[in-house]
């Protein structure tokens, strides 16, 4: 920790400078740096020298416009960040381009800021991107905005002109529900009202830009809100399973009972993990930490942990306001990738309410009513994901209330989720019937696997009666279902009720029983399902027969291994008692043999593992097979 208080690292605030092209943003930044003595030594002379050599007038903007192409064209292409210090704090100044073509760079700059200075040319007045940037600042969640009416020198520092621009732009901001902090008359080239009050504007009694900056507030982390802890990754360093992530809102501490979305599994926090830090103090919003759990449950990247009392929504549809940056428009009938916190899901445009020109708020009408959002347009729409995702409305919790959309290789749009009376914690019953439009004529195994995002296979449980096969298999089925996988349990008793009601328990009938189940399981796997079977299946030869029916890697033999006396004590159906009393003939383990697998894919010692741990073991194995799989260490 730092020694003296006076030497403590200073507070930092990020400010973005936005506005229409050529209204003087970069010039303002250059001047601000000069007037606050923040220019590196020799920088001014260097830039003056370069300008002279190139035979062009010196431009303050060249300080920020570092790229040759920017200096050649005298415009800012990409956003840049530089630092300067006042008595009060350190500022990160983010210069954003004003040209419409570079809107994605403006968004990149602005999305990282805590406050904004919007520059308007007093001479040219309010322009297209003055309005568009105002709209986008609001959409990006920036609430602290000051407007600089620049180039007042070209208007003879006229108060009337200043008021004219202020009135016009204030009306625009009001129409998009933005309340600016202040309007300031400046002349960036001359330095008027930037670091000190200008003699040219005696009528101005408001603050200078510098005073306004110091008046902005550093945003506070949302500690007081409900907990949202999206899992970024799962590590298994040093034989411990650590769930790593950043607390996006709320606080988390040891002993907290957590519910993980979208699986709805629960467990409690055993420890908070940080490296080179003593103790296990609670973690607040913004902290990148790790946690371990008291009970091992299967959790992977994308899960969002919350407290049971305040869970997020968990649906496949939500309403949003979106801006589009992609070269290809956002279109109905195409699928995209949604990224929300650490979740990723396939997403499609469900319904388009309206498309707007963000610089006029005009509704854009397409000639034939086509449902699309073109580059640089904004829209109000409903999105539909292929599997349920956890989210909040941005008005409730910001980090889990916004998202980006990836088209191909590129982040092509971003948006915020708006309120819409979402039901809490109920599965959206609609989402399943919507998957039809991805299918094509002849369906191959690979296509099925692609649609399901997993291949079909058979998870074959074998073990003594009472070893835990049914319990684990049904739990596994539920877990897979919650993960969006297609799984089905073929239960021994159910099969004997119907399909195999003609069979008894002689070695021959047992063999036929297994053969039929094997064939059914094979069909299920071929249909793309994860077919789970839970039969004693005592004979090695019979199981190997099924193994041979299936392709390589498709048969996953799970040996549910528990000592006989434990199975007997459990005896959930009272069968051991009956067998011992001689009421059941040829009961495996009592009056019929059990041949344990020699090389099962998975062995579960259910005398040592809990049901959840057993399920986790299998899920981790399946994940290894899954080519799209989450990274496991």
């Amino acid at each position: 920790m730092s020694a003296a208080i006076s030497m403590a690292p200073t507070e930092q605030l990020k400010i973005v400078i936005v506005g229409h092209v050529d209204h003087g943003k970069s010039t303002f930044v250059g001047r601000l740096f000069h007037d606050t003595g923040s220019l590196p030594e020799g920088k001014l002379e260097q830039l003056q020298h370069i300008a002279e050599r190139r035979g062009v007038p010196f431009e303050w903007a060249n300080l920020m416009d570092a790229l040759q192409s920017e200096r050649d064209q005298n415009i800012t292409i990409d956003t840049a960040q530089i630092w300067f210090q006042t008595q009060k704090r350190q500022y990160v100044i983010i210069d954003a381009p004003g040209h419409k073509e570079f809107l994605k760079n403006m968004v990149t700059g602005a999305a990282n800021a805590e406050a904004a200075l919007l520059v308007i040319d007093a001479h040219e007045g309010v322009q297209e991107n003055s309005r568009r940037h105002g709209y986008l600042l609001n959409l990006l969640g920036i609430r602290q905005i000051a407007v600089l009416v620049n180039k007042m020198d070209l208007e003879d520092y006229s108060q009337a002109r200043f008021q004219h621009v202020e009135t016009e732009y204030r009306a625009w901001l009001k129409s998009i529900h933005v309340e600016p902090k202040v309007f300031i008359p400046i002349a960036a080239k001359q330095g008027d009202n930037i670091a000190s009050r200008s003699a040219h504007t005696p009528w101005w009694t408001g603050p200078t830009v510098l005073e306004t900056l110091d008046d902005f507030r550093v945003s506070e982390p949302p500690d007081g809100q409900p907990l949202r802890f999206p899992i970024q990754d799962v590590y298994r360093f040093d034989d411990r399973r650590i769930l790593a992530g950043r607390v996006e809102s709320g606080t988390i501490q040891v002993g907290d009972k957590l519910i993980f979305h979208p699986s709805n599994k629960t467990s409690s926090v055993k420890s908070i993990e940080r490296w080179n830090v003593v103790g296990t103090a609670p973690a607040g919003a913004g902290e990148s930490i790790g946690i371990t759990l008291t009970e091992q449950i299967f959790v992977e990247r994308g899960a969002i942990a919350a407290h049971e009392t305040a869970p997020p929504y968990e649906l496949t549809k939500f309403k949003a306001r979106l801006f589009w940056l992609g070269r290809q428009p956002l279109q109905q009938g195409r699928s995209y990738k949604l990224k929300l916190a650490t979740q990723e899901a396939e997403v499609a445009l469900d319904a388009l309410d309206r498309v707007l020109d963000a610089s006029t708020l005009q509704v854009i009408q397409r000639p034939n009513g086509e449902a699309l959002v073109a580059r640089h347009e904004v829209a109000e729409l409903t999105l539909r994901t292929k599997r349920p995702i956890a989210f909040d409305a941005v008005s409730e919790i910001i980090p889990t209330g916004r998202f980006v959309i990836v088209d191909g290789f590129d982040v092509a749009g971003g948006g915020i989720i708006v309120d819409d009376n979402y039901p809490r914690r109920t599965a959206d019953s609609l989402h399943k019937s919507h998957d039809i439009y991805w299918s094509h004529g002849k369906v191959t195994t690979a296509q099925r696997a692609g649609r399901n995002s997993h291949a079909g296979c058979v998870v074959w449980f074998t073990g003594l009666s009472g070893s835990g096969k049914s319990t684990i298999s049904t739990e596994l089925e539920r877990e897979l279902f919650n993960l969006g996988k297609h799984a089905y349990v073929l239960d021994g008793d159910n099969i004997r009720h119907g399909l195999n009601s003609d069979l008894g328990f002689s070695p021959k009938d047992r063999k036929e029983n297994i053969r039929r189940i094997g064939e059914v399981a094979k069909l299920f796997a071929d249909a793309g399902l994860i077919c789970i079977t839970a039969f004693i299946s005592p004979y090695r030869g019979d199981r190997d027969l099924v193994r041979q029916m299936l392709g390589p890697g498709q048969f996953i033999e799970v040996f549910v291994n528990a000592p006989m006396d434990l199975c007997e004590r459990r005896d959930p159906k009272g069968l051991y008692a009956k067998a011992k009393a001689g009421q059941i003939k040829e009961f495996t383990g009592i009056s019929a043999p059990y041949e344990a697998p020699e090389k099962p894919e998975i062995e579960l010692r259910t005398d040592r593992l809990s049901v959840a741990e057993s399920v986790t073991t299998i899920l981790e194995y399946l994940n290894v097979l899954d080519t799209s799989g989450a990274v496991m260490i």
Binding site: I77, D78, A80, Q232, F237, D238, N276, G284, S288, D410
Partner: protein
């Protein structure tokens, strides 16, 4: 309560490290032995609970200040790091270097650093490379992204960078391309030293003033890196010095100054 500024920077860097590790199968980290990449290494251990779960790549020009290599090998032993060394043997054998008078400074950086880096990335099929550059170092870096794509020729298309918002990064890209990941992008030189002090991170002594009143502020190859006048002998004194200086950090790095856009060109072509 607002988080203290250094913790804020640290938490953001850890988040970026973890995103990179999750998203890239063949990940490596460049290690230049300097203060930034050593802080980077420290943050990696924070992110992965004491582990560094990917190899470090050091591009050795053979012109590094000798104590840098000693320091490198010592940390590799102590922190149990996996080190991959890249070297442009061909150019070195042929002697086409600046110190030999056979190349300009910029050409020399191009072959001994940039080309050597490309060779080592190709050889090991790395598709994600963590680099410790910061926005405040020099103007083209001020425009960098946290996840910054390079095409198959390692070129940086600076005129068309991906949007980056709300910590959603570019992690999808064409085959053959790679992504530079910059977890320190938002740190300043002063932040780096404040953090070194807070965490007590071991730093190569070249940064501290010697008996002649000189220290290195930025370290690299000895023919192109010059010490500055300074009496700062401790981390605390360096922090104090930086709070009152107006001299840019890379003032002692000669390759930046060969022409107006020398460094921009180098970086477009794939330099760090």
């Amino acid at each position: 309560m607002p988080m203290d500024p250094l913790s804020k920077l640290e938490n953001q860097s850890i988040y970026i490290f973890r995103e990179a590790f999750n998203k890239f199968e063949h990940l490596a980290m460049l290690w230049s032995i300097g203060k930034d990449s050593t802080v980077l290494l420290w943050l990696a251990r924070k992110a992965f609970f004491g582990h560094v779960p990917f190899p470090l790549v050091h591009v050795d020009t053979t012109y590094k200040i000798p104590s840098m290599i000693e320091y490198r090998d010592q940390l590799v032993r102590e922190w149990k790091l996996e080190l991959v060394v890249g070297k442009n043997e061909e150019v070195l054998r042929a002697g086409r270097t600046f110190p030999n008078g056979q190349a300009t400074r910029v050409e020399c950086c191009g072959t001994l650093k940039k080309d050597a880096l490309k060779a080592v990335l190709d050889k090991h099929h790395f598709n994600g490379v963590i680099v410790g550059v910061r926005r405040d170092e020099e103007p083209t870096r001020a425009k960098e992204r946290y996840f910054s794509p390079r095409d198959k020729n390692m070129e940086w298309n600076v005129a068309d960078q991906p949007p980056e918002l709300w910590d959603q990064f570019k992690t999808d890209f064409e085959k053959g391309a790679h992504i530079r990941i910059h977890p320190l992008l938002h740190w300043t030189e002063l932040n780096i030293w404040e953090y070194i002090e807070r965490e007590n991170i071991p730093i190569i002594p070249l940064y501290f003033a010697n008996g002649q009143g000189e220290r290195y502020r930025s370290i690299g190859c000895f023919p192109c890196t010059f010490p500055i006048k300074s009496n700062a002998r401790t981390v605390r004194e360096i922090i104090e010095e930086l709070r009152h200086t107006n001299t840019p950090e890379r003032a002692g790095r000669a390759q930046d100054k060969e022409s107006e856009d020398a460094f921009e060109k180098l970086r477009r072509d794939g330099y760090m």
